[in-house]
């Protein structure tokens, strides 16, 4: 089963990388760019056939290892 985890930094936490990217886009002439925030995705291939059960396990993985709840939020998407 294919599972995608989207990890974002919580909005109140600074994102210097996003700020730097945004600034360089403007420098390159894309001055319509207002802001950039960076995120990560993890594409997991997981054995199992019960989508709910898989999602629950992945949620546990996120809490334990994949995301850092102190500064990040995450969202899990299980593909058909």
């Amino acid at each position: 089963m294919k599972v995608t985890v989207h990890i974002e930094r919580r909005p109140e936490i600074a994102d210097p990388e996003g700020t730097t990217i945004s600034r360089s886009l403007v420098d390159l002439g894309y001055d319509e760019v207002v802001s950039v925030r960076t995120g990560r995705t993890l594409h997991l291939e997981v054995e199992g056939d019960d989508a709910d059960a898989v999602k629950e396990r992945v949620d546990e993985m996120c809490q334990r290892l994949l995301a850092n709840p102190v500064i990040e939020d995450y969202r899990i998407e299980v593909e058909a």
Binding site: P16, E17, T20, I21, S24, D27, L28
Partner: protein
């Protein structure tokens, strides 16, 4: 005397070391800020190590668009020596002056330690003074040090004796076809004096200086 430009991007940090080591072997080495557009008067250029633009997005990605890079490209096309060390190597790949890209080390850890590399191609501006097959001890200092080249066209100049970071073909340094553009991951300037533990890197810097002298300005 040959005059070498050392390009400083915001976030570069090895520029003073490169300048120190080049001056120690009698070259003139001058800092050039990344906003400059003119490299006339220089016989060669070094892109030093560091974290240009914080290495944000991808190492070297933002630096590639610095105003100075057109002049660097022009130098490369004119056959003048262009050498990228560490972060400079990453920038040259992003700028497509060298093939491939540098990704995170296989073990996902920053590696700072001396490693052995074998010089396998001496027909480049960085290796012409070295004996073919010579094994040099040079300090590595990188996180994104694994060279990958899906095109398979990279011309390997130096190989890690041991596979330290997963680089394709164990490449520690690669060159363009003409041999005047070279990217090297370990730092020659960090092993340019005995008191630092090794002076093997001096041979490479001497090659570079000699190459700049061969080319009429």
């Amino acid at each position: 005397m040959s005059r070498i430009a050392v390009v400083v991007f915001p976030g570069s940090n090895c520029e003073l070391d490169v300048q120190w080591a080049l001056r120690a072997i009698g070259a003139e080495a001058e800092m050039v800020w990344h906003r400059e557009t003119d490299l006339s008067g220089f016989d060669g250029v070094v892109l030093p190590g560091g974290f240009a633009h914080g290495d944000y997005l991808r190492t070297g990605a933002i630096a590639r668009f610095s105003p100075v890079m057109s002049a660097v490209t022009a130098m490369a096309e004119a056959g003048r020596p262009v050498v990228g060390i560490c972060n400079g190597f990453q920038i040259l790949c992003e700028a497509h002056l060298l093939p491939g890209a540098l990704i995170a080390n296989r073990d996902l850890r920053f590696i700072c330690r001396p490693v052995e590399v074998e010089i396998v191609d001496t027909a480049t501006v960085l290796t012409a003074s070295v004996e073919p097959g010579a094994v040099l001890t040079l300090p590595l200092n990188s996180y994104e040090g694994q060279h990958t080249d899906p095109s398979g066209t990279a011309r390997v100049v130096a190989r890690y004796v041991e596979d330290v970071n997963g680089s394709q073909d164990r490449a520690a340094a690669i060159a363009n076809e003409a041999g005047n553009v070279v990217g090297i991951m370990p730092h020659p300037e960090r092993s340019s004096e005995d008191v630092l533990g090794s002076s093997d890197g001096r041979l490479l810097l001497e090659s570079l200086v000699a190459a700049t002298e061969r080319i009429p300005a």
